[in-house]
Symmetry: C2
């Protein structure tokens, strides 16, 4: 088995185009079935999949071991091998995630804003599934269960394309998913995991609007840029997070220190981690030294503007590009700003419109920041690390959208649905 | 002045790329201003624009007369010349439309679903403008005022590109718009009408995501397909309407006849006009003859399946392609179906997912139809002609979206906005 053409039931998938068309056609048929499935049927499938994952732990681990052995042979880094591994804890985690999705309210079929109009017709909007969702992701096999669960509950069929290094693990998880679908009386085609790692399969997946309604890429910048540039299907993008904490002149010192420290150090590798700290000039000398000591103790490298370098010792001068890097590492850029307006200008000019927070006790500043900063999450006196579907009460998330169209910020079940207008009349005609 | 390179202030726009970049950069700057403008400022601008249109009626008409003279020289059809004409009535209509937009509630800044989460943070969503909207439309100059008004009220800057045959009329309307913006203390760059009819300007407009956030094409299928294929900016599409009326076995005869007749004949050229009538076999012999007579009197040409041809006399056999044509004319295709399921299968296979209605007194059929038909508007016992922003209570519309992503069906002020998450804490950090 090589990484270019993985076998399907030990037979080569030689014709990727016709394979993908067949997967697409099956998904399109299954979409109609799952969109009309009852809440109870969908929940039953989710629960059986969760049970099945726990029951087949040994099989999952042995298939996963083969992926890991192959990965080691291919020279994958230890970090990637760690992400790839399916431990008992991670398998329980997948099962628990599916049970949580089963416990969420069904978004499909909800009718809102049903109102009588002057003509006498009653008009409202019904939440409905998209149809078929294609999800492209990297390395971590537990995404297979999460994504399958979210699509299933939101009434969508899905086509999943995981990382090539996790193929056998993903296919093993797919077996559990199919078992659950069948037990609930649903077609196994509701969730299809691609049985090939051929890169051309991705190229086809994102250019078949006749079968696929939206694409959700989850992974590094390279993947997302490729998908965005080549797709002819709408894409819900999850781009980088260059997140800011702005410590205002009217900030409470303790809150400012806690929020800035937490936003940077609670986890380094996440998109909602702070990458740049902005501090108002009137409080910089008071707050930066305290933060500098804390960051130093934590091993965070600091890069600052000229004024930060005057105030702090353990800091190096920031280069222009430092304001636009998503470090995803224990590195932080710091800039002292002259005014509230300069802070907002900096965020708008250099940020990625992901998550930005102001620390202030002044309600006018808070209201202006919330209104003026054009990011998917705008916060007052809270750590940027809260930008997350679970923390926002969505119950689960497929990612964090940096797009403006359709869905912005954490994407949960509702983000995977759309709405149609419903009209009730009693023989009404237009005059 | 020729139709390829219209002059800007009598100077040739020789470099379209740099002209478009300059327009884009101005729009981007203006977008920040208009997104933060108060409701009162925006309403004031709308009212002054309306007044200005009425006051400059003579100028509008004289500029319009030049477009019409040029159009006649270029051999435009009488129908196109009619659409192009700015009469006193149409000018009053534009002014009245702007006053109606001023009277609508401001969608920008509305915060919904603000809820405390277990961590103690308060999370909600704020409705915000997109930024810059590009609108590409054909012939009718009154779209210039409508589109400007909708974008202005929804807090967006816009770049308008009307039909080349209406350039002088559109620029004259733009003068009134700029007058109103300036009077209200806003930048005239909030609404820019392109001063060139060079086709390359459209090519550039739809491929500059750095300046333009979404594109709304309004026009024929050719325009919309070109824009969809070439755009690198998200597009809110308005495709064709192959709308169905399905007369169920449990239909009330009188309602069925009224709805089918109204859906076809109230206006022929609109996208929500019925193009195919489906009739359940058990009521076909009862209802079709009545409808056949009515349509005959109205001069509607009928094309039917074999069974309709047995029941009706003044009908010709339908070809396969008849089920997928948007006639936009007094032509109707008719099919007798064996069952409710076959009706839905027909709509899903041949329709354009625009607007479809069932006529039935049976609540189970009504619920199933509403749930199963995947169209932007799904109706029970109402004419398809109701699919319209005004009839739905949106107050105004920029078009009817046949996209699933973001906005589906009539697009009003809300469809021209998006949402961001807002989070309020009191020093909250994540643990």
């Amino acid at each position: 088995m090589n990484s270019q053409t993985i076998t399907k039931s030990d037979q080569k998938i030689s014709d990727i185009d016709s394979y993908m068309s067949s997967v697409g056609a099956k998904a399109r048929r299954a979409a109609r079935e799952i969109s009309a499935a009852s809440t109870e049927t969908k929940n039953r499938a989710l629960i059986v999949i969760a049970e099945s994952l726990l029951e087949t732990e040994d099989f999952l681990k042995s298939e996963n071991a083969k992926d890991i052995a192959q990965g080691r042979k291919n020279g994958l880094s230890q970090a990637l091998l760690d992400r790839l591994e399916l431990t008992s804890e991670r398998i329980s985690g997948m099962a628990e995630g599916l049970r949580q999705i089963a416990a969420l309210a069904d978004p499909v079929g909800e009718i809102t804003d049903l109102k009588y109009q002057p003509s006498g017709i009653q008009v409202g909007q019904m939440r409905v599934a998209f149809g078929v969702i294609g999800i492209i992701y990297e390395s971590r096999p537990n995404v297979t269960a999460d994504a399958a669960g979210l699509c299933l509950k939101s009434g969508n069929a899905c086509i999943l394309r995981g990382g090539s290094e996790a193929l056998l693990s993903n296919l093993a998880i797919a077996k559990c998913v199919h078992h659950g679908l069948i037990k609930a009386g649903l077609s196994p085609d509701v969730v299809q995991v691609l049985e090939t790692t051929d890169r051309n399969a991705v190229g086809r997946l994102i250019t078949m609007p006749e079968y696929v309604d939206i694409i959700v890429p989850r992974g590094g910048k390279g993947l997302i840029e490729r998908v965005s540039n080549e797709a002819t299907v709408p894409v819900i993008k999850h781009l980088d997070g260059i997140c800011h904490v702005y410590i205002d002149r009217f900030a409470d010192k303790e809150k400012a220190v806690n929020i800035a420290f937490n936003s940077k150090t609670q986890r380094y590798g996440t998109c909602n981690t702070m990458e740049t700290l902005l501090v108002h000039q009137q409080v910089a000398a008071l707050i930066l030294p305290v933060l500098g000591d804390l960051f130093k103790k934590e091993g965070v490298e600091l890069r600052g503007c000229a004024r930060s370098c005057e105030i702090l010792k353990a800091i190096s001068p920031a280069q222009d590009e430092d304001w636009e890097i998503e470090y995803l590492a224990p590195i932080l850029s710091i800039r002292v700003v002259e005014s509230f307006e300069q802070a907002i200008d900096h965020i708008e000019a250099h940020g990625s419109h992901h998550t930005d927070t102001i620390v202030t006790e002044n309600i006018t500043r808070a209201r202006d920041f919330i209104r003026q900063v054009d990011s998917s999450s705008v916060m007052v006196n809270a750590s940027t690390r809260f930008a997350d579907g679970f923390e926002y009460g969505l119950g689960a998330e497929i990612g964090i959208s940096t797009d403006k169209l359709h869905v912005r910020g954490p994407v949960g079940l509702e983000g995977l649905t759309t709405k149609k207008y419903v009209v009730f009349g009693d023989g009404h005609i237009r005059t």
